[in-house]
Amino acid sequence: MVLPSPEFIIYSIAYGSSLALLCLGLTLTYMTTKVPNFAHGTLAIVGATVTLMLIDRVYYQFRGDPLYYSLYIAAPLIAFFVVGLVALTEYLLVLRPLVRKGIGIIGLMIAALAFDIILVNILTMTLHLAPSEYFGKLIGQSLKGFDARVSLADITTTFSRLAMPVVAVILTVTLHLFLTRTKFGIAMRASIENPSLARVLGIDVDRVYIVSWFLAGGLAGVAGSFLSFIIESVKPAAGSLVIVSIFAGSILGGLGSIYGALLGGFLVGFMEPMATIMLQNALSEFLGRTVIITQYQRLFSLLVVIVVLLLAPQGLTGLNYREVIGRVRRVVGVG
C-alpha cells in the first residue's frame, strides 16, 4: 500500500475537521426538530460564497500583504452570522409552521428539500447578478489560489488547511463548555432529551430550538468558509455533493449525540480522500498505469451509510460489539 504524501494527509485532516463541524450542526438540528436537514450542505456553500464575495470586495487588494491573514478571521466570523440567520429562516419560516400544523416527518423532509432548492437558486441568482470587482464573474470561481501558502520544513501547504483543525477544536471545546457550564446550555441538553419535562419545569423549549438552528447554521458557515479554499470551485450546486458526506458522518455518529457527530464527521471526512487516494495508488501499481478514481470519492460516504445502517444502525455511540458481530454473521450469511 502506498501511503499518501504529508500534504495530502494535512488536506484530509482539514477536510475531516470541516465535516466534523457540519455533522455536528446536522445532528444538533436533527435532535431538536427531528428533521434531517437536506439543506445543510448548501448552508456550507452559503458560507463559501460569503468568503468568495469578501475576497472579491475587500481582500483582493491585500494579496501579499500581512493584512491578508485577517481574512481567516473575518470570513468565518461573517459566514457564522449570515449562515446562522439563513438556517434560522429555514426553521422559523418553513419547518416550525409545518411542525405546529402536525405535518409528519415525510412532509418535513420534502419541505427541507424544497428549501434547499430555493436556496441553491437564490445563490445562483446572486452569483450571476452581483457585480464582481476583480473576478469578472463570481460564479464557479476557484479560491485555491487565494489561500495563503505556508511552508513547514519541506512540506508546502496552505494556511486554511492548518487553521481549520485548530478552529474546529476551539469551537468544539467552546460548545462543550457552553453545554455543560451554562444554565442555558444545560437547558439545551435537557430540552433535547425530554422536551415535555423541560416544559413542565418552565424551560422555553422553543427558544432552545431557535438557538440550536442558529448555531448549526453558524457552524456550517464557518466550515463552508474554510471549505471554499478546498473545493474545486465555489458554485451553488456543490452542496449536493457535500450533503452525502454530512449524512454519512452523522449516521456513523448515531444522530443522537454531538460528540458522536464530531467523531463520525471527522472519520468520514478524513477517510474519504485517504481511502480513495490509497486505492488509486494501489490500483495504479497493480495495473502498471495511472488510474484516476478521485471523481468517485463520494462512493466512500455512500458505502459508509449502507454499512452502518446494516450493521450498527445506532452508529458509533450505540455500538454493542457482540450484536454487531452477530449482524455481520447474518448479513454475510455464516453461522
Binding site: 444545560i186 419535562l197 423541560a198 413542565v200 419545569l201 418552565g202 424551560i203
Partner: protein, 239 residues
C-alpha cells in the same frame, strides 16, 4: 367552599377525540394526602394531567386556592404552586443530579435557586453524594427521590405524584411512602398520590378516590375504602 386547596367539579378530559375522564368531582383540604387508586387504564394519570393542564379539558372546573385555573398552561401552574411528577421519564437521565436540580430551579433567581437546592439536599441527603452522577446511573429509588427533590424546589403547595413507587422493590417503596408522609407532616404540603399497590398507600393517606373506567366510583376517607370489602375485593385485590 372554605378550606379547600383544590376543587375539581364535573371535569371531563381526555386526549383530542379520546374522552377518558367523565364528570370527575372532588375536593381536597389543605395538608391532606389523597390517594387515587383504580385498575390500569381507568384514567388516573389522565385525571392528574388534566388538573395540571397537559391533557385536554372539555368541560368542568379546576380551582386552586379559590381561583379558577382550569385553562392555565402547565408552566403557569408550576409557578403558582402546583407540582406534577409524571409517571415515567420524570428526571433527565443524561444530566447529572446537580444539573437536574439546576433545571428544576430554572425559573428562579440565581441566588434563590442556590438556596433552594441546598434546602432540598438537606431534606434528601443521599443526593449529596451523587451530585455529579448522571441520573441514569441512580437506582430506581434514588431516581424517584431526585424527582421528588425536583418538584420540591419551587416550594409547591400541592404536589401530584403519579405512581412514584411504580417499579421499586417493596422495601424501597415503603421508604418512599415514608418520605411522602414527611411531605405532609413536616413540610405541610398537600399531596395527591396515584398508586397501584393500594393498601400501603391508603394506610398513610387521609382521603381516597377510586376510579373505574374513567368515573369516580368512591370518594371519601381512605379508611372507608379500606374497610369496604366489596370494592376492595373487586378493584384493589385486597383480601
Amino acid at each position: 367552599m372554605v378550606g379547600y386547596i383544590l376543587s375539581v367539579s364535573d371535569l371531563n378530559a381526555g386526549y383530542g377525540r379520546f374522552h377518558i375522564v367523565f364528570d370527575a368531582s372532588f375536593n381536597l383540604a389543605d395538608g391532606e394526602i389523597l390517594t387515587i387508586v383504580g385498575p390500569n387504564g381507568s384514567g388516573k394519570s389522565t385525571l392528574l394531567k388534566a388538573i395540571f393542564g397537559i391533557a385536554t379539558v372539555y368541560s368542568g372546573l379546576v380551582s386552586f386556592k379559590g381561583s379558577d385555573v382550569t385553562r392555565y398552561p402547565p408552566h403557569v401552574k408550576a409557578r403558582i404552586g402546583l407540582a406534577y411528577l409524571p409517571q415515567t421519564d420524570n428526571v433527565f437521565a443524561e444530566l447529572s443530579v446537580r444539573e437536574n436540580l439546576v433545571m428544576a430551579s430554572y425559573t428562579l433567581e440565581e441566588s434563590e435557586a442556590r438556596d433552594r437546592i441546598e434546602e432540598v439536599l438537606n431534606i434528601y441527603p443521599i443526593l449529596k453524594q451523587k451530585l455529579d452522577y448522571k441520573a441514569k446511573s441512580l437506582s430506581g429509588g434514588e431516581r424517584q427521590i431526585l424527582a421528588l427533590a425536583m418538584t420540591l424546589i419551587r416550594k409547591p403547595e400541592l404536589i401530584m405524584l403519579d405512581e412514584p413507587t411504580g417499579n421499586l422493590a417493596p422495601i424501597i417503596a415503603k421508604e418512599l411512602l415514608k418520605k411522602i408522609v414527611q411531605l405532609r407532616d413536616e413540610l405541610k404540603k398537600t399531596v395527591i398520590l396515584v398508586e397501584q399497590s393500594a393498601k400501603a398507600a391508603l394506610e398513610i393517606s387521609d382521603r381516597a378516590l377510586l376510579m373505574v373506567s374513567g368515573r369516580i366510583a368512591y370518594e371519601g376517607p381512605s379508611k372507608g375504602l379500606l374497610e369496604d370489602v366489596e370494592l376492595g375485593k373487586k378493584y384493589l385485590g385486597l383480601r
